[in-house]
């Protein structure tokens, strides 16, 4: 496949692995966090860990949109899905996330009209096809997907699609990173920066990491060679005593981001004063709600939601996994009570979740010989 195979070349992978090996100091342990769930998935899918020296540890970060949705928001979504006559639309992964009383997939089996969509525009199309029914889109994701939600809302407004509304769960990447850096639990040496988010926000928002915390950030693409090269760039910064924001993913990410997308977002969204993150608690100014100008398209205002905060199940350690404090397998319920087919925590649901990625792909890393 052109433009993909080039970034999956095993020869170049081995060359980068050699370069990485030459950059690490013996006896020093390096902890590098990949912020984005897409990176976590690639790391396991391609077995990238296998190519890193033992003393370079990749720590999985909070950038998996499904993983950070708290149970109360799932319950709110289910309440909307159960409104008689409503069509509830969401991305596929979200359907399996457990709320306090079942998932959206269960609500569907009980009769709610829950449909999987690949894009918010699909939801709008459903609304136009079913003018006598209320169509609700469960918007989810970091700055990566927020512009497409914003454009869809703008189109709904322009075309006067009055039966369409949006339950907004968009979150922003910088506040949780700052929270992580302020947390005493974790000592990180650097960050593999989120590639997709950066296509929208650019590199500038990450400048605070080297400036205030003295850690390198390398914004990275998602192919295996991208990730290896980013790790190598981080290690080189460390070896040379530098800490700055570098852009490995310059084929897609401009320094200033996507100005048009940011403008549309500013028109459609406003910052929530605070928002609950699964396992991380409330983080101020970390999520988006529809702005006053779009209030009439806000499903929460149109229908009202219970809005009850639900505590995470006691056994669930998603918060620690999301912060990179523990490895997936160190969670008390990992792989026994909590599995991809019967998840307790969100990290076991999405393929971008660290637990699901480790369970599905990672259990037999090189330590075990195949005979």
């Amino acid at each position: 496949m052109r433009f993909v195979d080039e970034f999956r070349d095993p020869e170049l992978g081995r060359a980068l692995a050699g370069e990485i090996l030459s950059l690490v100091e013996a006896g020093r342990h390096y902890k590098v966090m990949e912020v984005c769930g897409g990176h976590t998935h690639s790391i396991y899918k391609y077995g990238i860990d296998d190519l890193l020296p033992e003393n370079v540890e990749l720590v999985h970060g909070p950038g998996c949109p499904v993983c950070v949705i708290p149970m109360g928001r799932v319950d709110d979504g289910i309440a909307l899905a159960k409104i008689p006559g409503a069509i509830f639309t969401c991305f596929g992964d979200m359907m399996r996330v457990p709320g306090s009383n079942g998932s959206l997939l269960d609500a569907k089996a009980e009769g709610a009209d829950v449909r999987m969509v690949y894009s918010p525009l699909d939801a709008l199309r459903i609304a136009k096809k079913n003018p006598d029914r209320q169509v609700i889109f469960f918007a989810l994701g970091f700055e990566t997907t927020a512009p497409s939600t914003a454009l869809t809302l703008r189109r709904a407004r322009a075309e006067g699609v009055s039966n369409f509304s949006c339950m907004c769960n968009h979150v922003t990447i910088v506040p949780p990173l700052r929270a992580l850096l302020d947390s005493p639990d974790l000592r990180l040496d650097g960050f593999v920066g989120p590639g997709h988010v950066s296509t929208v926000v650019g590199a500038r928002p990450f400048e605070f990491i080297p400036a205030d915390y003295g850690k390198p950030v390398v914004i990275s693409g998602f192919e295996p060679l991208d990730i290896l090269q980013s790790v190598s760039m981080i290690l080189r910064q460390l070896a040379e005593g530098r800490s700055e924001v570098e852009n490995q993913y310059s084929r897609v990410v401009p320094y200033e981001g996507n100005v048009t997308a940011l403008k549309v977002m500013a028109e459609v969204f406003e910052l929530r004063p605070h928002f609950e993150w699964r396992g991380l608690g409330f983080i101020s100014q970390s999520a988006l709600a529809l702005s006053e100008a779009y209030a009439d398209l806000d499903a929460e205002r149109r229908f009202g939601v219970p809005g009850v905060r639900v505590a995470d199940p006691k056994a669930c350690q998603c918060g620690e996994v999301l912060k990179g404090v523990i490895k997936p397998w160190e969670c008390k319920v990992f792989g026994t009570a909590c599995t991809p087919e019967r998840p307790i925590g969100t990290c076991m649901v999405s393929p971008e979740g660290a637990c699901a990625a480790y369970y599905s792909y990672g259990r037999y890393a090189t330590e075990r010989e195949v005979v």
Binding site: M1, V4, P10, R96, L105, A109, W329, Y361, R363, E367
Partner: protein
């Protein structure tokens, strides 16, 4: 990672393997779409509810019954695909080939089919006639006869156009000595051609993605391929599987569990058409999990692998047959894959529901 951490991780992995090795229990309060997707939820339904109820031990694509010294194979399948016609085929052809293939990979020469139609009020006569013709044509091509049938009509909205159920009978081929428990370390795993065509064709035919690609379903009878394999490698052929729902990955997992062996897949060897790979890449799906309707997976003793491969390649439609994996001892009941990039990872059964109603 310190040595004690490795030990702890190993210990936890051991606990997980013990949990995983247990017969899956069915603990759901209701049926969800996941139970139809061919992954873990389907497995829990079959092994947790159905097999124990009927005292079934070995679960193959067909059941065997002996009548006056003749071994007969019997199988049944329901077809609920949406949309009912798609590039490369339609529900009528699937209904014949799906059942014929379940007989064929069990080592049985397909003889006769029953045909049961559930029709939705309002289905047009043209659609019905078109599918009946498709059934007749596919049956003729596969060398089987439809000898009995049934029709039911349900109110509009209580079925989606038409569902078809076929039951097939075949006679066990004396050259076949197949068992799901027969895999031995060293055995080679062959596939009869490109993977993921059917599932991808259906996905695109649903028009949900605004993707256009020239991808056709691979629906076809596998009996010629099975016949060739039995002729050239009969006693060395351990087992075969029709890689339908859940794809090749699910077939490999089922067999690794049944035979208590490991399977190591060479990802770079898996034959996937560039357009299928491209569509799967965009949709975030692994072609190894995508359904086929005319591809078999054959497990062959090492010394007969080359002969078997040559036999397969001589059959029209199987020219791209290739070895994709090898059977190993450790870790038992696991499927691992060496990625094209040079890493190694697990290839587990799917938990979720990537694509319902593909057959």
């Amino acid at each position: 990672m310190t040595p004690s951490e490795v030990t702890r991780e190993e210990r936890i992995l051991g606990i997980i393997e013990t949990t995983r090795a247990k017969r899956p229990r069915f603990r759901d309060a209701q049926i969800t779409m996941s139970h139809g997707a061919g992954g873990k939820a389907t497995q829990s339904l079959i092994e947790g509810v159905l097999a124990p109820a009927f005292g079934l031990e070995e679960l193959g694509d067909s059941g065997m019954v002996e009548v006056d010294g003749t071994q007969l194979a019997m199988t049944t399948d329901s077809f609920v695909v949406k949309p009912i016609s798609f590039p490369g085929g339609s529900i009528g052809e699937l209904a014949v080939n799906g059942t014929v293939n379940d007989l064929a990979v069990a080592g049985a020469r397909p003889l006769s089919l029953s045909l049961s139609l559930v029709l939705e009020e309002g289905l047009t006569a043209d659609e019905l006639k078109g599918e009946v013709e498709a059934v007749a044509r596919a049956a003729e091509e596969a060398g089987v006869r439809v000898i009995t049938g049934d029709t039911k009509v349900v109110e509009r909205g209580h079925a989606d156009r038409m569902y078809i159920c076929t039951t097939g009978i075949g006679v066990a081929d004396p050259r076949a000595e197949l068992s799901t428990t027969a895999l031995r370390p060293g055995d080679r795993v062959l596939v009869s051609g490109s993977l993921g065509d059917h599932g991808t064709a259906i996905m695109l035919a649903r028009d949900e993605f605004e993707l256009d690609a020239d991808i056709e379903s691979d629906t076809r009878s596998l009996w010629p391929a099975v016949d060739a394999l039995l002729e050239e490698a009969g006693p060395s052929l351990r087992c075969m599987r029709d890689a339908t729902r859940g794809g090749v990955a699910s077939a490999l997992n089922e067999l690794a569990r049944a035979s208590n062996v490991a399977v190591l897949v060479d990802e770079a060897a898996a034959p996937v058409k560039p357009e299928v790979l491209g569509a799967c890449e965009l949709l975030g799906i692994d072609p190894m999990y995508v359904a086929n309707e005319g591809k078999l997976v054959a497990f062959v003793a090492p010394d007969a692998a080359d002969t078997a491969l040559a036999a397969l390649r001589s059959v029209p439609g199987c020219e791209e047959a290739v070895q994709i994996a090898e059977v190993k001892t450790e870790p038992p009941r696991m499927v691992l894959v060496d990625t094209a990039f040079g890493g190694r990872r697990v290839m587990d059964l799917l938990a979720g529901d990537p694509l319902p109603r593909i057959c």
